[in-house]
Amino acid sequence: MYETTYHRAGSVADAASMMASAEDGKYLGGGQTLLPTMKQRLAAPTDLIDLAKIVDLHGISEAGGAVVIGAATTHAEVASSAVINSKLPGLATLAGGIGDPAVRHKGTIGGSIANNDPAADYPSALVALGATVKTNKRELAAEDFFTGMFETALEDDEIVTSVSFPVPAKSAYSKYPNPASRYAMAGVFVAKGADDSVKVAVTGAGQDGVFRVGEMESALSSNWSPEAVAGISVSSDNLLSDIHGSAAYRANLVTVMAKRAVAAAG
């Protein structure tokens, strides 16, 4: 790791002003992706601004048909939250399957979505559930937030403060992990909204990160059952292809995981 200067922010405003005075700063959430990247000397921020101790960024609350998760809430907290397990079971499953127990104790939802790794799990949930990302500057719909592989609409000094999820009627997540990294090779989040609208979002497989599968959404809208998606395959044209799985194999996994997610959602 290259040398860096560590700052611990006490508030969101505090963090933003630290960033303003840093030469090439980075916000630090749980650090479970950023620190390994820095250890490999693939990132060299001059300053790290730690958001983890900002009280306002923590916590899970439910109000007005939505569940709001503070950006510094860890995956373990999401996975074990009673509110999430009852209102967003698919999200609890998803958070409980990120990395491993030690990673889940540190990694945060804000850090994960701000990084937008194409194999990360959360983006699929945000898109499928129609979540709203709140920052210190504005609110963004999930689909506007994720703009491509490792890219988001966030400005350099912008801080994700919370994510708000409308409570769906049904939701579930199913992923096929990469056998080495255990990141998603294909992860499918299915959600049926309170208004019966259906969204299917896929992570791990797309070259540009998370994407929706319209054909599956229409099929599920008229027939919410695993069989409805069993015959639908996504085109492998824009899918990732690497030593762990070809685009064709990932396309197959998308169908299989979609089927399993619908079955799990009940």
């Binding site: 860096t4 560590y6 250890k39 490999q40 983890a52 491993d100 127990p101």
Partner: protein
């Protein structure tokens, strides 16, 4: 950039000036001389470095010492009560849950955290799943799983006995 980092380490307050880029594992191993916590990979996957920070298992190679400033840190050296081994330590020995010993401290710290979270509900499938972040090349996991199950059963029994 150098900063002063202070934490409770195995129940004792320690403090040192370290570079901001110092990882918690290096603070523990090099600054504090507690070499039971190991480094086995660069990508946060092997789990040889697992310690508890404020009661939760974390990978000390994926955390800056500065992030743990003000925290309570427990390493494998702080687990036994004097000469009395922690039940998980004893179970690893009794079940031959270790060979070369390198992954062992991280395995034990992961196991303690796992048992604390799951209580007596631990079955083989759960144990194997919960070990996703700890790699062992010697034991084939068979006896590690056995050891954790045995410790979990024993600790559940101890809890029942005190209730």
């Amino acid at each position: 950039m150098m900063s002063k980092v202070t934490m409770r380490l195995n129940g004792k307050t320690v403090s040192a000036d370290v570079e901001d880029r110092t990882l918690l594992v290096h603070f523990i191993r090099e600054t504090q001389g507690l070499t039971g916590t190991h480094v086995g990979c660069d990508t946060s996957q092997c789990g040889a470095c697992v310690v508890h920070v404020d009661g939760k298992a974390v990978k000390s190679c994926t955390m800056l010492a500065a992030q743990a400033d003000g925290s309570d840190v427990l390493t494998v050296e702080g687990l036994a009560n004097g000469d009395e081994l922690h039940p998980v330590q004893a179970a690893f020995r009794e079940n031959h849950g270790l060979q070369c010993g390198f992954c062992t401290p991280g395995m034990i710290m992961t196991a303690v955290d796992m048992i604390e979270r799951h209580g007596a509900k631990l079955d083989e499938k759960t144990i194997r799943h919960e070990l996703e972040g700890n790699i062992c090349r010697c034991t084939g996991y068979h006896n590690i799983v056995k050891a954790i199950k045995a410790a979990s059963d024993q600790m559940a029994g101890m809890k029942t006995a005190t209730e």
